[in-house]
């Protein structure tokens, strides 16, 4: 089928979302299914179809989602209800909306490289600590079934 001329194509909007926690590394497909599932659950099949959403860009911390114009509010509400991607707890926080991908990419700040600090003992359990910003520290405990994560700050660790 011949492609529509640009003037007849439906208008699109792009929404920039920040993925939390910081170290999550999801691929675009996983994110798409999570957001689409949330949209279907919230608005039903016809509502989700009207969004005509797709994930156009993703990296470990950021995602850009495309949707039809005037359905940004619906999309943001659906994205707000995402609390799990794959098997990991996570949230996507919408930061900005724009008409072009380039404008949103300009808004992505440089990421802070995570640094491994060392081991910390909390209530006789050993956690490995990773600094994710100047103040924030994530503590990881490898279990048999899953990974336990605690979210602390440097001051918390100093007090321990």
């Amino acid at each position: 089928m011949k492609a529509l001329p640009p003037t007849l194509r439906p208008d699109k909007r792009y929404v920039l979302g920040r993925i939390v926690p910081h170290n999550s590394s999801f691929d675009g497909k996983e994110l798409y299914y999570a957001i689409y599932d949330a949209a279907v659950s919230l608005f039903g099949d016809s509502g989700a179809y009207e969004l005509s959403m797709s994930v156009v860009f993703s990296n470990p911390e950021w995602v850009i989602i495309r949707c039809s114009r005037k359905s940004e509010l619906k999309l943001r509400a659906a994205v707000a209800t995402v609390n799990r991607v794959g098997k990991k707890d996570c949230a996507i926080r919408c930061v900005a909306t724009s008409g072009t991908i380039a404008a949103l990419k300009r808004k992505i700040p440089p990421s802070f490289p995570a640094k491994i600090i060392g081991d910390v003992e909390i209530e006789s359990t050993l956690y490995s600590s990773v600094s994710v910003s100047q103040e924030k520290v994530d503590l990881y405990k490898e279990g048999i079934k899953h990974q336990d994560i605690l979210y602390f700050t440097r001051e918390d660790l100093e007090e321990l």
């Binding site: 919230l42 979210y151 700050t153």
Partner: protein
């Protein structure tokens, strides 16, 4: 306006320390958090932290016992129950926030409760975790009950608080996202902002001017 998250759960109830919660709340535009089960009240990273006592009474007599046992807190919250319990809790004036109205039975909150809530300055809480973490019929019920509360609020003018009910910083919600979620049951942006400021109204209730001397 001081935007507040009316109920969060910090470590050890959740997996995020109170300091980290405050830090993340600051980045999300929240200036005050009420931490249930914590006895700390003060300031972290410019975010005001209030201690909260969250009670789950089975009847009003049980509420009295739980209230005596609980530590002294800035904000006292109680889970809602049937209509009788809710009326007693609100008219006693001993609680600041009535939570969990979405899981209460039908007609648990009526016009009598609404009038009492206005008189006794008791706020009704809208917990966003009921919308974000639940699916299907449970979420539909939550949306219906919040829409009903909103109707009563518009008619009688009592306070509504908004809480994330987060036990991890992942569950905290920025102000814009709160507006998006509240729009699902018909709450307008101004109403959301008023509700986010409601904890301030509970701490400093409006009273008519008095002539001192």
């Amino acid at each position: 306006m001081v935007f507040s998250d009316a109920c969060i759960f910090a470590y050890p109830q959740g997996n995020t320390s109170l300091r980290r919660m405050a830090l993340e709340a600051k980045y999300l535009g929240i200036e005050r958090i009420v931490c249930a089960g914590s006895d700390y009240s003060g300031d972290y990273y410019g975010v005001s932290v209030l201690s909260g006592a969250l009670l789950r009474p089975s009847d009003f007599r049980d509420f009295g016992k739980l209230l005596k046992k609980s530590k002294k807190s800035d904000i006292i919250m109680s889970y809602a129950g049937d209509a009788g319990l809710n009326r007693s809790l609100i008219s006693s004036g001993k609680i600041d926030i009535l939570r969990g109205i979405e899981s209460a039975p039908k007609k648990a909150f009526d016009d009598v409760c609404a009038i009492n809530a206005l008189e006794k300055n008791v706020a009704i809480d809208i917990c966003l975790s009921a919308i974000t973490y639940q699916r299907g019929i449970l979420r539909q019920k939550a949306l219906i009950s919040y829409a009903e509360i909103l109707k009563f609020h518009r008619k009688f003018g009592f306070n509504i608080t908004i809480s994330s009910g987060a036990d991890s910083y992942i569950g905290l919600r920025p102000v814009r996202e709160i507006e998006d979620l509240c729009s699902l049951f018909g709450m307008k942006s101004e109403e959301v902002k008023f509700a986010l400021n409601a904890v301030d109204n509970l701490l400093n209730p409006y009273s008519p001017a008095e002539v001192i001397g």
